[in-house]
Structure formats: C-alpha cells, structure tokens
C-alpha cells in the first residue's frame, strides 16, 4: 500500500475515530489485497510507511465482498467485467482471513 494512502487512512481514522472508518479495497490480486488489508488492520508489513507498527484494526472489505450491498446496476457497470476476469474467491478468502485475524470492527 503506497505511503500516501497509508497517511490518508491514518489521518481519517484519527479525525473520525477508528470505529467510523471502513476501508474498501479494489486491488486485482489476492496477495496485494491481503497486504493492503493487513496494512490497515495489523500495520504495514513492509515497515516503510506511516502505518508501520500502527495496528488500526479497521474494518476492511474488498469491493467484491459488498456485492449484495450495492445497487445491482451500479455493481454490474463498475465491477461486472472485472468479476469475470479476476480470481474472486481467492481475493475474498485472503481479505476475510486477514479481517478475521486483525480487524476490531467487523460489523
């Protein structure tokens, strides 16, 4: 997760409270989605950015996990094509596993 985005996540959680911030990921690979989820929950695993050693424990989901919460037309328009292209199951498995381990705000 790039350093600028780490800083934005940190600033927003300080401003609004960790319980009021949910991170939605749109990355295309399970590995990178997992790393992003880990960064905003357990802390930056690469120890390079503002979230190094900072365990925010935020709620974090991949956009694919929110399909039922989104208007079907909007979802189809924005995510329909990528859903056919990417390994959705692997991405969801990776992100939910990280969330189960480190997120303090799961509902």
């Amino acid at each position: 997760m790039d350093l600028e985005n780490q800083k934005r996540v940190l600033d927003l959680s300080e401003k609004y409270g960790k319980e009021n911030v949910v991170v939605i990921i749109g990355t295309s690979e399970a590995e990178s989605a997992g790393l992003t989820a880990e960064t905003v929950t357990a802390g930056d695993p690469t120890y390079a950015g503002p979230l190094a050693g900072v365990s925010l424990g935020l709620g974090v989901y991949h956009a694919f996990e929110l399909k039922d919460q989104i208007d079907a037309n909007v979802y189809d328009e924005q995510c329909g094509m990528m859903e056919m292209v990417l390994d959705v199951d692997a991405i969801i498995k990776e992100v939910s596993s990280i969330r189960d381990q480190y997120s303090q705000y799961k509902d």
Partner: protein
C-alpha cells in the same frame, strides 16, 4: 482526402548494461540510500551479455525477426531458452551494442558535450563503417576523440561517465553551470533519447527505402523533457532527431502523454495525412535511461537476469494511400475522456467497444488487439502480473458481457485475438505501438484483416491530475480502391453545368464565348 496508411515501421533495442547502475532510477536511488547494499553487490552477476540479449526471443519479436505469436511455441523462461540462430539485424530494426550507441550519442551531440576516448573511437568508427546505416560523412563528424586524462578530469569536475565494463571510455558534461535542467545527468538522459530516436528513424528510412527528405513532419513521443530553466520540457526532440537522421525536408514537434503518447502520436499523424496537411508523417521515440533495471531488485532476488537492460525505440511512417499498406481508420478512434471514469470497465469500454459500436463492429471483428505489450517475464517476478494477458481477459469479458462471444469461449478468444507480451518495459514503448509493424506484415500477407492499437497512460504519476488516459485506433487491410480524392461534389457539378450552359447561351446570342 487520402486514407492514411502505415507505410513502414522500425523497432530498435540498445543494450546498455553499464548504464543500469548509474542511470536507472532503481539502482541510482539505492546508491544514494544504501551504497553498500547486497542488491548492488549482486547485480553485476545478473547482467546479460550482448549475445544473450540478441538471442532472447522477445527481443527478436520486437525487431521483427519472429512474429509475437511465435513466442507461444517457445518454452518459458525465455531467458533460458535462447534462439541460437538469432541475428542482431532484424527485418524491422536492430539490436545495437553499447559501444556503437556511445558513438551514436556523440553523433547526436550538437554542442560538444560528449567526449569519447580516442582509441575507443577508432575501434567504433571501424565497426560502424561496416554498417550501411551510417555514411562516411556522418562518421567523419565523430572526429578524433579525447585523451583519457582529459575525460577523467571532466568526470572529476562533475561530468557523467560512460563506461564499457569497468573501463571509462567517455563522458557527458553539463550544458550549463547553474541550470538544473541542463545538468550532466539530464543531458545524458536527453542525448540517450535523441540518439536512440535517431537510430529508430534511420532504421525506418533505411529498411523501407524511404527517401529521407520525403518525410514532411515528425512527431516525437518519448518520455523525456528537453529545455532549460526558463522553459523546462519545451522540446523539440523531433526536429533535433530529424537533423541527425537526415530528414532535411521535415519539421516536427513533441507529443507527451505518458505511455499513451505513441498512440496519440499515431492518431495525430494519421489525422495530418488524412486532412492533407502533410503527405508523409513519421512518429518516433527513443528510450529512457531511468527505466533501466527498474525491477532489478526483484529480478536479482528471484535469480532472474536483469531483463531491463535495453533501451527501446521505434518509428512509424504514415503516408498518403499507396493502395497497398494497411489503412489507419481515423473514423474509428477510441478515447478515454475526462468524464469516462477510472473503473477498468469504463476504461476498456471507452477504448475498445465504444469505437466499435460507432461503426457496428463486434469485438470479434478485430483479429488482433495490441494493448500494453510488456514482456511478462519482466513484470511477473516484480508482482505486476502478466499485463497483456490481463488486458485480453478484460476485452474477452467485455465481449462476453455484450454477447459478442460466449463466456466459455473467453480462453480461445484470448489466444486468437491476443498475443504474448514482448516489449521492453520502457514506459511509452510497450503501449500499443510495438505491434504496428507486425500487424502491417500480417495484414499484408492476408493472415489478418484488422488490428486495434491501444495506448494507455498513467497520468496520475505526474501529480497534475488523478486521471487515467488512453486512445485507440484501427489498422485494416487496404482495399486498393481509388478514393474520391479530388472528386467534385454534386453542387459543384451543378454549378459547372450551369456555368457551361450560360457560356453556351452567351455564345449563341453573341456569336462568341462570353
């Protein structure tokens, strides 16, 4: 108006192993931050020889000796399965060695900023004299060369060194003592872009038997910026390249747009020809030193050779319709607009399906799509995946969503309408244009009818906008039919007939023509 055609294309690679360490950003930043790092110590073991670079199958595809699809028949990793009978000279270009390239930099040096050691220069002149690309008059411009002591002194004074292995053979000095845009480092970057652009344009001219002075306009579309402290990035690489390449009848300008610039340039060139402004427009780009060894850290960590060891360059000539060469369809252009949005779906629709819809074509009516053609062997070890394959999957998914193809036939669509990535990760070089030459060959041989060239650019890296960008254009078989060039409209015919009748009436009345 004449339909613009792709009259020729040239592709060149320049093997620059000794520029990776100093001029590639990954190594240069590591040098600054951690000069004793394991990565920097290990890197030289992973740098390839010129022979290995020539025999590397994706490079052979890039210079036109094999079609990109042939890569499907060569076992991976390609860096271990070299083409033993490979040639540095290609049907559409060549793979230039570093020593020759240093001479090309000197030939591109208009202000005596480059010094080459005199014995080195004698050797190179003899080597270049055997090539048909350079004339005697050009080689004479290289002059006598400098004493090594003189070069060493300049390097101590801040000039950037040029090495062959550990041997200092030349240097490039700053063009101004205070101007940050004319430092020795920037002059190296810009002279490298210019010199590799010159080699590409010379190859285009030479290999297609094009009279150099017949080119009327050149659009340069690389990623560098030349200018001084009062006007950074103003250009004009195009004209500078024309001057050295002997295109004396041309002027030109530079087009920028990150990786999408070559596709923009291709459309602009086609438009200029179609409109009749110029009969012959070349687009050209040289390579970028900054991207040498860009993913070298991952390559070294994973025991892969440093595959980003070459600069890339290309040139394409767009001319009036010759009745044979593939036509550029200026009426079927895709573009990502400000309002398009950044979702992958919106991007692909704007570039692929919207232009097709305009003329009632299906996704399957395009035989080959040329997208971001990065060699996956470079990007996969760095965690960036197989970029062309990801693009083909998206195009196939769009096709399935629209009902152009069945969902189950997505894999076969990808195989038939795509191709393996084969281009060096030199930013602008992989984006759409690497296939223009091969597409020309395949269309003219009847293997395919139509190809779409898609360029994409990550504008957000410039920090001026968060926008993405992209454009696309279709190349298709030339029907050879005469066009309505110079034909008159109905109204004009009516006017002419009326005029003639008036004259005739006047003649009858007056006994003479009025």
């Amino acid at each position: 108006m004449s339909a613009p055609v792709v009259r020729g294309a040239a592709y060149i690679l320049v093997h620059t192993p000794d520029m990776i360490m100093r001029y590639g950003t990954t190594c240069a930043l590591e040098h600054e931050a951690n000069p004793e790092s394991e990565f920097l110590k290990k890197l030289p073991e992973y740098v390839r020889s010129y022979e290995e670079v020539v025999k590397y199958a994706p490079n052979q595809a890039y210079i036109g000796n094999i079609l990109p699809d042939i890569l499907n028949t060569i076992e991976k990793p390609w860096y271990k399965n070299l083409i033993q009978a490979a040639d540095a000279e290609g049907k559409m270009g060549e793979i230039v060695s570093q020593d020759e390239f240093y001479a090309a930099i000197k030939l591109s040096d208009a202000l005596d900023l480059v010094a080459l050691e005199k014995d080195f220069l004698i050797e190179i002149k003899a080597k270049l004299a055997k090539k048909s690309l350079y004339t005697e008059a050009e080689l004479a411009k290289l002059k006598e060369g400098s004493e090594l002591s003189e070069i060493e002194s300049k390097v101590r004074g801040g000039a950037e060194p040029l090495y062959m292995g550990s041997k200092l053979v030349g240097c490039v000095k700053a063009a101004h003592d205070k101007d940050k845009n004319l430092t020795a480092h920037i002059m190296v970057e810009n002279l490298v872009t210019k010199a590799s652009g010159v080699i590409a344009l010379k190859n285009l001219i030479y290999r297609n038997n094009i009279p150099a002075d017949s080119i009327e306009y050149v659009i340069e579309c690389s990623e560098e910026a030349c200018g001084d402290m009062n006007q950074r990035g103003v250009g004009n690489f195009a004209k500078a390249i024309c001057e050295v390449a002997g295109a004396t009848g041309a002027t030109g300008s530079d087009t920028r747009g990150f990786c999408a610039a070559p596709a923009h340039a291709l459309i602009n060139a086609a438009a200029l020809v179609k409109a009749g402004v110029y009969k012959s427009v070349a687009i050209v780009a040289g390579g970028a030193t900054a991207k040498l060894g860009m993913n070298a850290r991952d390559h070294v960590n994973k025991g892969v050779p440093v595959l980003e060891d070459c600069l890339g360059g290309f040139a394409v000539l767009v001319t009036e319709n010759d009745g044979i060469s593939p036509v550029l369809r200026t009426d079927i252009v895709g573009r990502h607009t400000v309002g398009t949005g950044s979702s992958p779906q919106a991007v692909m629709e704007s570039l692929i399906t919207k232009p097709l819809d305009k003329v009632g074509m299906k996704i399957t009516d395009i035989d080959k799509y040329s997208v971001e053609m990065q060699n996956p062997e470079i990007t996969e070890p760095a965690g960036a995946g197989n970029v062309p394959l990801a693009n083909y999957k998206m195009i196939a998914a769009l096709g399935a969503k629209r009902g152009d193809i069945d969902k189950t036939s997505m894999p076969s669509f990808i195989k038939e309408h795509g191709m393996p990535g084969f281009a060096p990760t030199q930013g602008h070089i992989p984006s759409g244009v690497p296939y223009v030459g091969a597409a020309r060959e395949m269309i003219m041989s009847g293997a395919i009818e139509r190809a779409m060239i898609v360029g994409k650019g990550s504008l957000f890296l410039g920090r001026m906008t968060n926008q993405f960008d992209g454009v696309s254009i279709i190349m298709e078989k030339n029907t050879g039919r005469e066009e309505s060039t110079g034909a008159v409209s109905k109204e004009e015919v009516k006017e002419m007939v009326a005029e003639a009748m008036k004259d005739f009436a006047s003649f009858l009345l007056n006994g003479k023509q009025g």
